[in-house]
Symmetry: C2
């Protein structure tokens, strides 16, 4: 059952139970190359303005890209898109694993999920077919159990399961979507959308394979990747996982600590990826077809005993449940990671929200009365784990915190608002905008809230960056590298330009550790070759930039229709305060610098002064129909 | 004396006689990659708004691109830019030959010529040095004689001479700049600007060579070109010159005939390139380093005897002095070509203006009294040759016609205005917009007036186009081919998109027969490789598109400052009349379709409704300084 780019889109109406298959023409796929960009075609057309994100009018699109399932590294990614219950804006979350490739082997490129089921169901997708099944017996179950139950029930150990945990069922705004029990489409509360629709899981099994336009060329690229992995920038991820770079962040004052009070953490060595390798690492895991093997599996015993099926913590998890909280206990962090994967919680929002609560506690805004007796001081590992579990179960203070730090602060009051560090109400990932200045801008303007994988971070474009990286960036018209602390017009240009290409990666469904413009295993020229070898499309960096810009503009158009304007692209107060200690001691991001950068960014993007895409820019990107939507 | 991209710019002030050398940084070159784009940096900064094109305030920039002089086909091009005395807008003309490569071997990338010399001078550039010399003895001479005299005077037979003929001296608005006595920077009256400055010639001799970043890679590309020439789209040019395609134009009703009254010409076979090959062709000539050898050298005897030193007629010349005038006499056409090259006249404007005068004569608007007794009926070959000579010498009616058809019609009156076929007052080149519809748009909106080498013509993007061409266009985001007669939004997108890349070619200094997005010998991927092999810059189609868009926007900004608005992007009345006979019988371009296409074009270009570049688009292209100029 071979199939190429011109695949099939599954439409599932949970209200009526009706399932339909759409077969769009090649031109439809080529315009976005799949994934998150393709999803925007449906969301813009199908979600009415001001829809309740947790109501039946919201639409959830699960999609893969045109590269997904091809036998090469870094292509097995699933994108989840819907209006976000966390931000009120467009939602977007991506995850890796084996589910994406398996889904494509089953003959589909996306599932467009509409309506709301009256009772818990799951979707069973297999070799070109799909059916809704009752999930009453699975409702309430944690991810590992549900996965096992579905494999048992459907009688195939090779079934891949994408699902929500209890957090999604309970509509936590930081609920994520999990596959393999340890891969998360983490951000913007996509798990709550799935929960609101009472869709517990999507189980998939396929025996097809992606039809390749040029098998030999792709094989050659795959071989090149395997041969050059050790010399590439991603090798450290193989060795020590994504937390292998904590030493560098610490050295540059870029490691967020104690709810963004400092960029250095005295306990950094204890939570470092290398330390993990030497202590609790059980094995290195991988996504379908990928030679990198960046995923960790850890095993711990004792008070923070964990089950290896839930994997191991990524850097983001280590920082948010670690340094954010002043915690240097890798076993406690691993436990928090396990709870999040079990219950289906975004570790970034969850850890950051606990850190926010700790900050409130330190300042007397929250007390033991609020916490139910828990001593929520920075550094209390057991308290952190307990609070994560309470969020997962929506118990006590955890029920409030499950709404995210922004909404929690609104309820708590007493100045708690000033301790919130979010972009569009979404908690900041673990990279310090005071040390990597373009993040102050991108965390604010990114259409789906603060995100660290939506552009290339500053150090790649510093004068001290390596010559190959700078040469590759020059392909994008970037020829004037700036210091990491710079937030000048040139840095804004860099941020937007790399945002376009990262946006294209989220359409293609490629992993940004493996494919990208700078330090990744494969560069953009190789990406062009790979897309061509897989799809047969003769493409170019130019076309990929168009694809990326299309997705970004469609997302901004979605937000504009929801009423979002420049004020929603804000910088949190905490960044305007000086960091304490280390290389970034005394450093802050000035509001006026941020506002100037934001204005420049809008201008370079071809948007108006409120950050709304102009008809001209939309037309330039073949998006006249989106301009028409905005004009209505 | 090796030198790479980071070369030297010669500044020559003809008022003071001062000569200076500027050595711009690499970043300056990379922003435009040289040529016409680089020239815009000087013209925008140095030419005051509303300067007299023939006064001392105008600036003439002669430039080559970063590829010029490298040992590969299609790179020896010189660009001439100044405010145009023909259009009142930005002027731009390009020519091939050996002068461009020789100039670069002499150590320079451009000459910025300011002021006005009190007496005739010529510039002698040799191996990094330059001096102004008296040219009193050369003034009034025709090109072949001047070239010979300078080689004699400077004592080197290998000197290359770029010069004006008597037409430029006499400030004909259709005067061109000639090198090798037969290669023309033809359009927009750049020869008149040179004449107004009393600069007769630029003689060059150099012994340097372009420093190559990757000699072996370039050699490989050059070898590939030689090996694949015969299978390429340019092979017919080798065989039969640029007029080899007349059969195709005739077959599609695209051969402009009798001053744009018809798209077919009954005498087409007599003026066809193949006929030339079989009759008067003496040899095939080439530009420096080029394997194509598309240039013709003809030899005729009898009443229209010609000197082979003046080369042979290109397709444009054959059409404008042939079918435009209803003339099928290849020897008369060759004679007209010789006169134009001798006197330094643009064959397109000259032939088209004679055709316009013939049309006036046919309609009784001009009479024998006006023509000095010449029977200026369509089809009278001797009369055509005589009129070309009169224009060259500015004698009788020729003095008025030397101002171009637009200005002549204003003087003649009596409805002559309706017979003018120009874009920004510049005569249309020989491609029928009624048969290749995007030309109706591009002839109008092109900043330097009607031009046929500023975008890719329609047939390349028709559903019937060959798959490789369509695949290459898809690299530019063009995936929806349209019929050649279509002028829909998609065709506008195609026109603008290919205009960007053609604009980049005029920066790089590459020949659009050899390098380009469709049928050319080398495609855009190979162009990227070549730029990289020559300059060491890691570039991409994306960066080249930025470069091209920069030049186009700088030109439009120049025009905007001169007060040009949408009304200056007009379509001549003749196109709104039905063509007569052949496949385009009864076909016209509707004004409303043209206006809709123009509005769409402005929108896709990121310009306002008057066609003025917006600050946002300029910023996107790193041209904030241009936006500042417009804001002043």
């Amino acid at each position: 059952m071979p199939f190429g780019y011109a695949g099939r889109i599954l439409h599932v109406n949970l209200t009526t139970g009706k399932i339909e298959v759409e077969e769009p023409p090649e031109s439809f796929y080529r315009m976005t190359m799949g994934g998150s960009g393709m999803a925007m075609h449906y969301l813009l057309r199908m979600v009415p303005a001001h829809a309740d994100p947790l109501g039946p009018d919201n639409v959830l699109v699960l999609s893969v890209g045109v590269m997904t399932g091809a036998p090469i590294s870094g292509q097995s990614r699933v994108m989840a898109n819907a209006k976000s219950p966390l931000t009120g804006a467009i939602g977007d979350a991506q995850g890796g694993g084996f589910w994406p490739a398996e889904f494509r082997s089953a003959g589909f490129d996306a599932i467009v999920i509409t309506g709301q089921s009256p009772r818990p169901v799951y979707l069973w997708v297999h070799d070109g077919e799909a059916e809704l099944r009752d999930a009453a017996h699975l409702w309430g179950g944690v991810t590992g159990e549900t996965e096992a139950a579905l494999r048992e029930e459907l009688g195939d150990k090779k079934i891949e399961v994408l699902q929500i945990g209890p957090a999604g069922e309970k509509l936590s705004r930081m609920a994520c979507i999990i596959n393999m029990s340890n891969r998360a489409c983490g951000r913007t509360g996509m798990g709550a959308v799935m929960g609101s629709k009472k869709l517990k899981a999507v189980a998939v099994r396929g025996h097809g394979s992606v039809e390749l336009a040029d098998k030999e060329k792709l094989r050659e690229l795959a071989r090149w990747g395997a041969d050059n992995l050790e010399e590439s920038g991603v090798w450290s991820f193989r060795l020590h996982g994504t937390a292998g770079g904590i030493n560098g962040l610490q050295a540059t004052g870029a490691l967020p600590t104690r709810n963004w009070s400092s960029g250095v953490f005295e306990g950094w060595q204890k939570i470092w990826g290398q330390t993990m390798t030497e202590t609790i690492l059980k094995e290195r895991d991988t996504c379908y077809g990928c030679v990198v093997r960046c995923k960790r599996v850890v095993e711990t015993t004792g008070p923070f005993a964990t089950d290896p099926r839930y994997g191991g913590p990524e850097y983001e998890t280590i920082a948010t449940t670690g340094s954010y909280c002043g915690i240097d206990d890798l076993e406690a962090i691993s436990k928090a990671n396990e709870i999040c994967n079990k219950y289906g919680l975004d570790t970034i929002s969850c850890g950051a929200t606990v850190a926010f609560a700790m900050d409130c506690y330190e300042q007397g805004i929250l007390t033991k009365e609020d916490t139910g007796g828990i001593d929520l001081h920075f550094g209390n590992a057991a308290a952190m784990v307990q609070m994560v579990e309470m969020i997962a179960r929506r118990e006590g203070l955890g029920d409030l915190l499950a709404e995210g730090s922004y909404r929690a602060a609104q309820k708590i009051g007493k100045g708690a608002e000033d301790l919130v560090v979010t972009g569009k109400k979404q908690e900041f990932p673990a990279h310090e905008p005071r040390a990597k200045r373009s993040l102050a801008l991108i965390y604010a303007v990114n259409p789906f809230g603060a995100d660290h994988m939506s552009h290339e971070h500053d150090p790649a474009y510093a004068p001290t960056s390596d010559p190959t990286t700078l040469a590759q960036l020059s392909q994008l018209g970037l020829n004037n590298p700036q210091h990491a602390w710079d937030l000048s017009e040139e840095k804004v240009r860099y941020a937007l330009t790399t945002e376009y290409i990262y946006s294209a990666l989220d359409c293609l469904g490629t992993c940004q550790f493996v494919w990208g413009p700078t330090w990744q295993l494969y560069n953009l020229d190789q990406l062009v070759e790979a897309v061509q070898a897989i799809t047969g499309w003769r493409t170019s960096i130019y076309e990929l930039m168009l694809v990326g810009a299309r997705r970004l503009n469609m997302m901004r158009a979605f937000n504009a229709r929801e009423g979002l304007r420049a004020a929603d692209d804000y910088m949190p107060k905490k960044l305007q305060l000086p960091a304490v200690g280390g290389p970034t001691d005394g450093v802050s991001v000035k509001e006026e610098d941020f506002l100037a950068a934001r204005a420049k960014y809008y201008q370079l993007a071809g948007w108006d002064q409120e950050g709304v895409p102009t008809a001209s820019k939309l037309a330039e990107l073949n998006l006249e129909w989106v301009a028409d939507l905005l004009a209505d």
